[in-house]
Amino acid sequence: MILVWLIVILMAGGVLAWISGKVNRALPRWVALGSVMAVFGMTLYLWLSNPIPVLGSAWLIQFSQPWVPQWGIRFSLALDGLSLLMLLLTFFLGLLAVLISWREIHTKVAFFHFNLLWVLAGITGVFLTMDLFLFYFFWEIMLIPMYFLIGIWGHENRRYAAYKFFLFTQASGLLMLLAILGLYFIHGNQTGVYTFSYFELLNTTLAPEAARLLMFGFLVAFLVKLPVVPFHSWLPDAHSEAPTAGSVILAGLLLKTGAYGLLRFVLPLFPTATVEFAPWAMLLGVIGIIYGAILAFSQTDLKRLVAYTSVSHMGFVILGVFSFNEWALQGVVMQMITHGLSTGALFIIAGFLYERLHTRDIRLMGGFWSTAPKMGVIALIFVMASLGLPGLGNFIAEFLTLVGSWQANNWLTVFATIGLVMATIYSLRIMQKIFFEANRMEQALPDLNAREMLIAIPMVAMILWLGLYPQPILDTARPSIQEQLQAYTKPAQEQVPVARVDVPAKKTIYIKRTGTKNPEETKPSSNLQITKSSN
């Protein structure tokens, strides 16, 4: 039930925040802060109180209720290490998003916080749901409030950016819906059981051609969200036009839903098709790393610059996902978390600067170190994180990803590593243009105040902790990662996809398994996974 509460608290908090705005202008902020703190506390408690499961039983908590039984749709939520980590990140960044909006947002405060909480609720749902229909539902839920966040509270060109964001994600989401339906019907035809349940659908046997098509449906949605070049062009606009909280959530969380989708759905559902597509996906990743880095270098709008660094960094995610080994996938999970923190922090710094200067143009900035050394130190730390300095979390992420991808493909890894040099080039430019050189403005920039330090210090502490002792994160993620990889650890059987369809003995196994009544009710998922790999 606790999983349902997470979503309910956020949604109810959102509604309450909206209503409370009628009473008092400041009240929505406190309501939002309270609800996010509540869910953050609950997830933290879950993390600290649950022992990390051993191999084979990745799932910590499950919840499942029929929703639309005649179509086989269930309100099915489940939590494993991966989703737990994603939730922690979501609520941590959500907390920061509320805090940074404290001074920044003045208009329609109540509605803003409604949207903020509903985006978080949608993201929470995406990270938790184990029913593909429900997944699509939450996928859309997080889209619409985000559209409002950009479109109402954004900067000058906000309408354009909001439309663009909406169209890109919506269009790609529709393809995913088609793929989900395709999978649903294929599975229904095969077994006679029409269900959207993730665990059931995992056992679908697909002809190679169908698998390929369905995989592309999912892939497009996730690749647009991630984003991967050439589907990235919504991101710089959306990031740079969104209010700071919006940028933090976009970069820190929404992009991660794409990565999460790849890990959770694409890898386990279509093992054969992904292996075929892997070299191309990795190539796209490397292109993204390099293309994003080159473009980031010449941007003059600080938020746009950081947005392109996201394109570059997300290239590592897809590179790692399609390397199919534990090093790379652990690297990907680390990258999701550390990129969320470091890029979030850079957007927050951009927000601090915008509040003070009312510009995002780095050509007008310079020399701020002399009056704002605290901001300078914090910016330096996150700039260094972004270029992958060892000792900070991003290094662990990128190094593990590259170690893993090296096993899969040498040359692409070489080019991805060259991306690190390019990261240095654009990252140092941020420091140079904003904090070094002479001050081009008349005004002296005030340094961070107590509230801003309260936001910045935990982020610094986190990124250092992740860089120096990431083991708790890695341990939490390990069982889920091993589970997602199960289909790949025994490559011999996966290399012959046709055999899986044709050999009748295997088919009976599938039928027998799907015959078990309502697998969710008896915590069966892990068994399912094991039997799947053992055949």
């Binding site: 473009l295 010449s298 534990e326 652990q330 590259l402 090296w406 140092l428 070094f436 050189e437």
Partner: protein, 628 residues
Amino acid sequence: MGELLWLIPALPFAGALLLVIFGNRIARGLVSTIGVGSVGISAAITLVLGIEYLSSRPAFIRQEVWQWFDVAGFSPSIAFHLDALSMVFIFVITFVGFLIHIYSTEYMAEDKDYARFFACMNLFVGSMLMLVMADNLLLLYLGWEGVGLCSYLLIGFWYKEPANGYAARKAFIITRVGDTAMAIGLFMLFQQFGTLHIQSISTEAVQTWTIGSETAVIIAFLLLGGAVGKSGQLPLQTWLPDAMAGPTPVSALIHAATMVTAGVYLIARMHVVFELAPAAMTAVAVIGAVTLLVAGFAALTQYDIKRVLAYSTISQVGYMFLALGVGAWSAGVFHFMIHGFFKALLFLCAGAIILALHHEQDMRNMGGLSKKLPIVFYTFLIGAASLAAFPLVSAGFYSKDQILWLQLAGENGNIWLYLAGLLGAFITSIYTFRMVFLTFYGKEKTHVGHKPTWAITVPLIILGILSFAGGFIELPHNFGHVVLFSDFLTPILPAVSVVPDFNQYEWMLQLLAAVVSLVGIFIAYLFYYKKPELIESIHRSELAMAIHRFWHSGWGFDQLYDVLFVRPYVYLSKVNKNDFIDGFYTFLANVTQGLHRLFSTTQTGVMRNYVMGVVVGAIMILTISLLL
């Protein structure tokens, strides 16, 4: 005795952390106490550990602080490894670092960012110690990148000047190019051995690879890439001369004594891998030889005293590479140590001069300082003698002579490498004493302001003594035959095997080296003191001036890289600033909008037009169906 090991890097880190947090709120005296004290205590611990190490002679001491992470068997630790090789490096880093920190309290006294300076310096010392004490390559990489960061921060310390920022970024980016190669090397090593633990790699490499095995060669070359970048060797040397934009103590500590020798450490540390890759060894020696010549000629033509010293550093590190390349491991490390002493000394003297002359760095505006700054003069002379390998009484003579001798006598030696080294020694003594004569002799051209006090002179005197006496712990066979240093290193670094019947010629080679050094000094004396008109006659020659300009610009490497890499990259980035891929989507949107406009013009609201449309449409359909 190993329990204290972790404190050696931890103390400077703690100092840096304290200074970052409280630096702007506490008095300068306290800043100096934290900044200098943390390194000082590290040095004291090093001394204690060193004495214990020498008395008990364990193979190595390992201390694991915690396990960094563990992913599917990839489990590096935050663990320190102390053996003879790291001992030498720790000793130089903490002691020379300590002296330079003391010196900085006076040199930086007027600077308003006093705390920031010491925070960065402490961070540097901590990272550098991490680099040389790491027991696995990933932790080494952490130190490696950490020193790069500090180098960046300190080169650009006076950040208001855009040129300093440019130099800082250049240093960071160019070394990162090398680091990238090294990172790929680490991926390969991990793939081969499933670990990055240095000792395990060393033992397993011998069993897995045969000499010249392809993987070993590739890995050795990739590691060499990292070494070349950090150590300012060809072709990644261009950042080091510009790095002189930082405060002079920084140049002394980072860009002379310690960080630039990280490449030497890496190669010596991974010597097992390099020994299995003869091609890479040859490359190390050739890179060293070419670099020492290129940088030597460039040093001849510089006027900025710090740039002379910078090129000289590149050139001297080239000697170390030369030694490593022929397998003369301990000779390379010995030259590192001696060079650490005398080059830090020379930089600190240069700093004292610069401070005295109100930040004047051009040697053409110096002169006649021998009377005004006597302590600086005499210590500089000792340092210069050591750099120029002045026979018998300078430490540099012994360390460089050993390298030259092994070029011929060592089994991997080569006459061409020897000649390059000899020519380099000749140039070295010319540019060194050119510096001495231009700076200390002749007419006084700039008024001497600041007179150094004890915080500057004491470090100079101590380093002067070391630059003079340091050589006596390792004397050639034919006189003295002291081998304290190489004995100390032998358990870690194998001794080079000498061609036996060569020993009888050793005295001839020593004599030759001595003569070369003395002739170089005499030429400098002739050109820059006795007969300056000779220089003017050279300046009149068009060809000589062209060569002069070419060398002065560092052999045009900057211009070349500018054309080859910098400009294309910037152009590529600028030209695509608005992201041509986005153009496609904009095009799509525009087409849709265009169609929308086109069709909305048909919505006139006039019945006549609609009827007309229906009729025309009907006729068209009829015609088509008739025609078909």
